[in-house]
């Protein structure tokens, strides 16, 4: 058995393990025989642990082989004529550390959530969605084609929205979930269109035909025009998942979900999914200064916006959401500047720290009291070094702008979403009147 075969087997395990746990707990629940709490956490935990161990072993092998990328041809999913959808996965210097990190975090959060959600009515539902998320994450990270990457990306979006609306009896949670899903779905047009453009340009969705897989030194293999269009579409897709202006409104609301899911999604993995896609397609960005500068501009603006708005938040999760947004924006700036290793390190560092902060947030007061008891006095308040030195009138203006979240939502709702929905409402009303007239009714009611 060659090293390639061993790595191939390990890569398949990374994908199959969380998927198997998803099926193992999802299918009995669907058939009306859900697993018990302990079985559920063990099954999901085993899936993530197996994924982590397999990824770590593959990483060791890759290091021993000098990080030479290995493409694993799992199967041809379906083919029509010359259009093939293949399941190709890649083990390289980007994907293996990322799977280690994501599977490891999911494993830890699984252990935390087993206790945190004990006897919660939606216990099984949470773990089904967590397993779906883990499977989608690994699928996205391991993907060697835009089609497979999109499949993973979709799983992330769906599980994220459903976990935001986990406490579905709360109207606010439901609205937040719908808002997040709408934003994701709008930005998904970018990745779908990119997929289409890639197929059109190179006749397949495989990344190997777009760029060398020698991450981070890969070279772009397509003309500048194609690289620019695909990069712009991928940047657009990333803006939604990474909560960049003008698509940032969903992130603070996303904290309506259970704390463990907030930690893993908006502190660690989901918020960085866009950054991962851009890192994976880095060679295309290198060929597209326009896309890179847009990334720097949007990321920089969002970082300023989020750091300003985050300072006036009155709840801890809101502060953490804006802090996450700030760091995710800075990561995009780094990617736009052409750096590759630094953003990856930034992603891992930020994800670990932020998950810990979010997981500890329910006991923040307790932690603070313990800290103060240990110090024997009050912990000093944060000093507003920059804002504190501004003139008073500027401070007041900044405060108002921050309280209104930079007027971003006002613009999106009043100038974009509102008019479109009103127009559609009028069309629907016209339809009803036309049907009523056809039906011989005078009231204008739909039959």
């Amino acid at each position: 058995m060659s090293a390639h075969d061993v790595i191939a087997g390990l890569v398949v395990v990374q994908l199959a393990a969380p998927l198997a746990s998803l099926v193992a707990i999802g299918l009995p629940a669907l058939l009306g025989r859900p697993c018990g709490e302990r079985t559920t956490t063990r099954l999901v935990g085993t899936g993530f642990a197996s994924g982590f161990v397999a990824a770590f072993a593959a990483l060791v092998l890759l290091v021993a082989r000098g990080f030479r990328p290995e493409v694993v041809h799992v199967a041809t999913w379906f083919s029509v004529g010359h259009h093939e959808s293949t399941i190709h996965l890649v083990a390289d210097a980007l994907s293996m550390p990322y799977v280690c990190f994501s599977s490891g975090l999911c494993w830890l959060v699984n252990a935390f959530a087993g206790k945190y959600l004990h006897r919660e009515p939606g216990f099984g539902r949470f773990f089904v969605l967590l397993a779906l998320f883990g499977t989608g994450m690994n699928l996205m990270v391991l993907a060697d084609s835009i089609d497979i990457l999109f499949a993973g990306w979709e799983c992330l979006g769906i599980s994220s929205a459903l976990l935001i609306g986990f406490f579905h009896e709360r109207a606010q949670a439901v609205r937040a979930a719908l808002r997040a899903f709408t934003t994701y779905r709008i930005c998904d047009t970018g990745i779908l269109a990119a997929s289409v453009m890639i197929h059109r340009a190179v006749g397949s969705g495989d990344f190997e035909r777009l760029f060398d897989l020698d991450w981070p030194h890969g070279q772009c293999l397509v003309p500048v025009g194609t690289a620019t269009v695909v990069s712009l579409l991928l940047v657009f897709a990333s803006l939604g998942k990474t909560a960049q202006v003008p698509f940032s409104g969903w992130l603070p609301r996303a904290m309506e979900g259970p704390t463990p899911s907030s930690a893993i999604f908006y502190g660690a993995l989901s918020i960085h999914a866009g950054a991962y896609v851009l890192l994976r397609c880095g060679p295309l960005l290198d060929q597209s200064p326009l896309a890179s500068w847009i990334l720097v501009g949007v990321g920089g603006w969002t970082a300023l916006h989020a750091s300003l708005v985050g300072r006036v938040q009155t709840d801890l999760k809101g502060v953490l959401a804006y802090a996450s947004m700030t760091q995710a924006s800075l990561i995009l700036v780094e990617i736009g500047l052409g750096w590759r290793i630094i953003p990856l390190v930034h992603v891992v560092g930020h994800a670990v720290l932020r998950s810990l902060q979010i997981l500890r947030s329910p006991s923040a007061l307790h932690d603070r009291h313990e800290l103060e008891a240990a110090l024997g006095g009050h912990v000093g308040a944060d000093r507003q070094w920059v804002v504190g030195r501004l003139p008073r009138s500027w401070q007041q203006l900044a405060y108002r702008v921050a309280l209104d979240r930079g007027y971003e939502e006002m613009v999106v709702v009043t100038a974009v979403a509102g008019p479109i929905l009103r127009l559609l409402g009028r069309l629907a009303a016209l339809e009803s009147r036309w049907i009523a007239w056809l039906a011989g009714e005078s009231s204008g009611r739909r039959p």
Binding site: L30, A151, T189, L427
Partner: protein, 490 residues
């Protein structure tokens, strides 16, 4: 040692299977209306539709064993024979029978009287017969036979007269156009005498008939009206099999080079309908309105793909046909089960039905996800194929398909959250899923997931059908940007 079955034996099996598939619902309809069967209406109905399903699967298997070549027998006219089975029929026969069986399993007791069962089974039988013919006049007759039970059932429903009237107006127009168009096409077939005036007019009449029967803008108003006013079983059985799409395949798509303008117009209108229906689904105020607009959008996507001239587009359209049909049937049936317990469902507010019916919430969500392209379901494969197929020809068409998919996704999640999210309704009982409902939902879901994870056999079968319809041999698939393949002279 088992030998290869002789061609005659396979042909007999095909004909026998077809006969059983079409006759079983008729027998069921006759039995169900007998007074002594009053207590056994559902078992009789389900048994007959299940027999039909098994027979349809036998036909599909026999067709595959026979080498996957089109099978035809009976009198021929206007380019089609009375009995005709190819890859498309082999896929659509079990598909229609499965929908019929699922509907009969889930139908609430009060909606399942002898008259309703009779209408459903007659409609199923006519639909199955239609899927096994390419003869223009047989198609015409079956158009009428498939529309009649829908109108009767809707008219007999309390509050359904208005919807029945709207349906009757549109279907009369469709049947009129279809009759004129078929006669003109048969009298002066454009594929035999290109450039003939009568044949050209016939093509346009048939195209308009297809547009009306498919609910394509601007002939779409019967679609939401039917979903609002008719029983869910009637609405689903009238729309999900998509008899107009099948007719378009047999009378127009198979002669694409002779009716190119008709197909172009159909494609353009269908794409607009796909986006318009999805947009309307976003602002619906009732669950049934959402299902109507959503299915209008999905069904239009099928026609948009059918109007293409590449096997890839056609295969994508066939896949969307089956995946969206199964998924929307699932959504409709779950909604019907919920309505039968909780009354009308509004989307204006959060109904909070999750607490009452968690299993129905799970099934609705899974069917919804399966309809909007959840990875691992057949609709993901279908979306991939139809987007790739339409983009190979027109970039704008591909982006309209994407826009429709995005809007449908948002509309589906909005409906789910509005129906199942929100505070628990006071004193609401727990609505457990009945065994027959769970069986029906599980089989539909399993079909969507199994075909999504392992789509190759279905896709191959549909691709064969697409190639045969377009007369494109396997190795001559046009690649993107290649000039269109010239069709052989008939």
């Amino acid at each position: 040692m088992i030998g290869t079955p002789s061609p005659d034996a396979v042909d007999h099996l095909l004909v026998g299977g077809l006969a059983a598939a079409v006759v079983a619902p008729l027998v069921g309809a006759t039995l169900a209306t007998q007074p002594f069967m009053a207590r056994w209406v559902r078992p009789v109905a389900v048994a007959s539709s299940s027999t039909s399903l098994v027979a349809a699967l036998v036909v599909a298997g026999a067709w595959r064993v026979a080498g996957g070549q089109p099978f035809s027998t009976g009198p021929a006219l206007g380019g089609g024979q009375a009995v005709f089975v190819d890859g498309l029929s082999a896929a659509l026969l079990p598909y229609a029978a499965l929908i019929g069986t699922a509907v009969l399993l889930v139908a609430p007791r009060r909606a399942l009287d002898a008259a309703a069962v009779k209408g459903t089974l007659l409609g199923l039988s006519a639909t199955l017969a239609l899927f096994a013919t390419a003869h223009p006049f047989v198609l015409l007759g079956l158009w009428f036979l498939t529309a009649w039970p829908t109108w009767r059932s809707t008219r007999g429903t309390p509050g359904g007269r208005a919807a029945a009237r709207v349906f009757a107006i549109y279907m009369s127009a469709a049947l009129g156009c279809m009759t004129v168009g078929t006669c003109l096409l048969v009298a002066d077939p454009p594929w035999e005498r290109p450039g003939g005036m009568m044949g050209a007019c016939g093509g346009w009449f048939v195209a308009v008939a297809v547009l009306i029967r498919k609910g394509i803008v601007p002939f779409h108003s019967w679609y939401p009206a039917l979903f609002s006013g008719a029983p869910m079983s009637t609405a689903l059985m009238a729309t999900m099999p998509q008899v107009a799409a099948y007719t378009a395949v047999r009378l127009l798509v198979g002669h694409a080079e002779d009716v190119p303008h008709e197909l172009e117009w159909m494609s353009a209108l269908a794409l607009c309908t796909a986006v318009y229906g999805a947009a309307l689904a976003l602002v619906q105020r009732h669950l049934r309105g959402f299902i109507g607009a959503f299915s209008m959008s999905q069904s239009a996507l099928v026609l948009a793909g059918l109007s293409g001239q590449l096997p890839l587009e056609l295969t994508g359209a066939f896949c969307v046909w089956i995946s969206s049909g199964l998924a929307i049937t699932g959504i409709g049936l779950v909604s019907w089960a919920l309505e039968s317990r909780a009354g009308d469902i509004s989307l204006d507010r959060l109904e909070g039905r999750f607490w009452d019916a968690p299993a129905l919430a799970a099934f609705f969500l899974l069917f919804g996800m399966a309809a909007i392209g959840l990875p691992g379901t057949l609709s993901f494969v279908a979306d991939d194929l139809i987007v790739a197929g339409s983009l190979d020809v027109h970039l704008a068409a591909g982006f309209l398909v994407i826009a429709s998919a995005v809007l449908c996704g948002i509309a589906t999640m909005r409906s789910w959250f509005h129906v199942f999210g929100g505070p628990r309704a006071p004193e609401s009982p727990n609505h457990a899923v009945l065994g027959r409902e769970r069986l029906s939902f599980t089989v539909l879901l399993a079909s969507l997931f199994v075909l999504g994870v392992w789509p190759e056999p279905l896709v191959q079968s549909l691709e064969d059908a697409a190639e045969q319809i377009l007369h494109v041999p396997f190795d001559d698939h046009p690649r993107p940007h290649d000039p269109p393949v010239p069709h052989p002279a008939p």
